[in-house]
């Protein structure tokens, strides 16, 4: 397995699956991923509310492929085997 981060593009050679490419897309605020197993996906940053009684700013957030609702964390866990649960503090929703 080889990992390269270049020009904001993370290239991950992960045998036997193949090569994953993950990169930021600032114009539309997305992270794009290309998986040799499941193809390309565009992930938006989504704050997941955990109910009305949840304290503001404590809700989970993840990069979500809005077309099917899957998350980048999920894909990395399933295909690469890394656990990215809550790796960072989410940005509070602007509308609150």
């Amino acid at each position: 397995m080889r990992i390269f981060l270049q020009a904001g593009v993370l290239t991950l050679s992960f045998p036997p699956n193949g090569t994953y490419v993950i990169n930021k897309q600032p114009p539309n605020k997305q992270i794009w991923l290309s998986s040799p197993k499941t193809g390309p996906k565009r992930y938006d940053y989504v704050v997941l509310s955990e109910g009305q009684d949840a304290k503001e700013g404590t809700g989970k957030a993840d990069w979500v492929y809005l077309r099917d609702g899957s998350t980048l964390t999920e894909l990395l866990h399933t295909e690469v085997g890394v656990d990215m649960e809550q790796p960072y503090a989410p940005v509070p929703h602007q509308g609150d």
Binding site: M1, R2, I3, F4, L5, Q6, A7, G8, L10, L12, P15, I22, K24, P26, P27, K29, I31, D44, Y45, V46, V47, L48, S49, A61, D62, W63, V64, L66, D68, G69, S70, T71, L72, E74, L76, V80, G81, V82, D83, M84, P87, Y88, P90, V91, H93, Q94, G95
Partner: protein, 210 residues
């Protein structure tokens, strides 16, 4: 000897009843008890063949054992082929009452739900055996399938309304965390090479946007 046996039976009755937390009247007024009764034919030469002795069980304290001789058991079965009803209210059990039971035991009502015909010395119990789930052949309940995690996010309407600075903040944090995790994975598998380089080509794009 009979007096001693009855004392043991009385103690056993109280003991079993208290273990099962069912109400038992004082020994002078034993009218009903609802404990499970297991009738065990046993050969006790010291106990007269025409008596029933209730004894506490040493292995199953929640069950009261009625130990009787083979002859008494066969009489009991002959007298009540279908079921053993509460003796106090069973009019046809006069023969059993007279031949098997001492007057002190008479008021005790035995509720045995299933007392089919018995051939030879064998056990019968009012408790239905429940072996479900104990043997490999029995029904094995399947665990409920775990719902995919992305079902949680399906209710989300759209992406968070974040600024471009916040996007870079959270995206960089995510990618850095990912690289960190991959490096950990690399250390575990020892087949991974991690190279990290910051490319300046990214910044002209930012300048171009601004």
């Amino acid at each position: 000897m009979q007096g001693e046996a009855w004392e043991k039976a009385d103690a056993g009755l109280k003991m079993g009843a208290s273990k099962r937390k069912c109400g038992v009247a004082p020994s002078s007024d034993l009218n009903h008890f609802n404990c499970n009764i297991r009738l065990i034919p046993a050969h006790k030469p010291s106990i007269p063949s025409q008596s029933i002795v209730l004894q506490p069980s040493h292995s199953f304290y929640d069950t009261i054992y009625a130990i009787m001789t083979r002859g008494a058991l066969s009489k009991l079965v002959r007298g009540s082929r279908t079921s053993i009803r509460p003796l106090a209210s069973q009019s046809s059990s006069a023969a059993i009452r007279a031949s098997m039971l001492r007057p002190a035991i008479l008021p005790i009502a035995m509720h045995v739900s299933r007392a089919s015909s018995i051939q030879g010395p064998r056990f019968f119990s009012s408790t239905r055996p429940s072996l479900k789930g104990l043997s490999p052949e029995s029904e094995n309940p399947q665990p409920t399938p775990r719902e995919p995690e992305h079902n949680v996010t399906e209710s989300v309407s759209g992406p968070a309304d974040i600024t471009i600075e916040q996007f870079h903040e959270v995206a960089d944090a995510y990618l850095e965390a990912l690289i960190e995790k991959l490096e950990e994975l690399q250390e575990e598998t020892e087949e991974v090479d991690v190279e990290y380089s910051v490319c300046p080509l990214f910044f002209p794009m930012l300048l171009w946007r601004n």
